[in-house]
Symmetry: C2
Subunit: 191 residues, 2 copies
DNA sequence: CCCAAGGTAGACAGACCTGTCTGGTAAAGT
DNA sequence: ACTTTACCAGACAGGTCTGTCTACCTTGGG
């Protein structure tokens, strides 16, 4: 059989345009409030083309969230750094994002608020993100020789969630230094 | 003029039924997904009656959230307790709620996820809640003689937000003890 | 006895939603 | 030259949404 490169698979520009438009609109205005008609109009794509690439709106929502995960995964942490520095780097990134102009909170937390059923495909993508992120923190803590990586990872995850919420609903510049101090203290002291 | 008691103003049973039904549905399933028709059907109320008490759906949503604030406000903290104990009591309550069966996160965070415009009346109620809660924490910290009440209140708020998110999306029993430990350490040590 | 207030029941308008379908165009591979 | 694939344009169906309106009932106070 022909190799049929599975990995790159040059995606169509129409699909790319739809996904970009939908991502921006979903994040900025919410998922249920943004209709298909609006997405295809702003993406400049025919309705049939849209439904050719995404069988349903839920598929589009899942693709939007999965791409968010991929983008976060590709944010490389500095190579020759200690685990503690890598954790600090990750939180530096979170803190920086929360202060950016269009910030409206964590895309996954917001999506989960609109999909109450935990078994829904969208919620499963949300769970994937949280599992991945928490696992990453736990690995880094273990590599740093932390005595209780699991428990501390949960703590760091809580700080991240709180920081994103505060960045969306309160003054972002106020929560950032407080969380920064808490993180450095958490990964510094053993207990 | 007649006294016309402004404070209690015995509210009609129909309005009460609508508000109870809407509160349960909005919290459990989200706001945009629950329609007026469903609310009045489950509340056993005519449509004209509904629109007599609530001029629009947004008014109902605001009333739902404002009542949530009122209920939280009335949760009295123990009288003869130190400020530190009062803070611990408040967080004990939050931790307990996150472990309850129907828990689906913070009603205000979820509502804000569905209303992107910060100037919207719903968002203003959300801001009222956050201002009140953070102010309460700051007062208690100041009463406890904490050196930096404002900054620590922000920190505690972040922990609360993270705890509610984790309670809704992860295993509630895992985040609770971690946050509990962090809170006791925060209000214990001065810095 | 009358009448106003608050309630019920349900039709209706106008907009918007997702998803399907028809029909036509353009480019690329075989 | 033929066929497949991707794309555009837009009508259409069937449902749901908010909000208005008409019409009738019931109950209690003056």
């Amino acid at each position: 059989m022909t190799p049929t490169t599975t990995a790159p698979r040059r995606q169509s520009p129409a699909r790319r345009r739809v996904l970009d438009t939908a991502s921006a609109l979903f994040y900025a205005e919410g998922i249920h409030t943004v209709g298909i008609d609006r997405i295809i109009a702003e993406a400049g794509v025919a309705k049939a083309t849209f439904y050719h690439h995404f069988p349903s709106k839920d598929d589009l929502v899942c693709a939007y969230l999965r791409e968010q995960i991929d983008q976060l995964r590709q944010q490389v942490v500095p190579q020759g750094a200690t685990p503690e520095e890598k954790i600090a780097f990750v939180f530096e990134g979170v803190g920086e994002i929360t202060c950016r102009p269009g910030f409206r909170g964590c895309a996954f937390i917001n999506a989960a608020a609109e999909y109450p059923d935990p078994g829904h495909p969208v919620r499963r993508v949300v769970a994937d993100f949280r599992g991945w992120f928490k696992g990453l923190l736990e690995e880094l803590l273990a590599a740093a020789g932390h005595p209780d990586p699991r428990r501390t990872a949960v703590m760091l995850m809580t700080l991240r969630d709180g920081l994103t919420v505060a960045g969306a609903l309160d003054d972002p510049a106020e929560a950032r230094p407080a969380v920064h101090a808490a993180v450095t203290r958490l990964i510094g002291s053993g207990d």
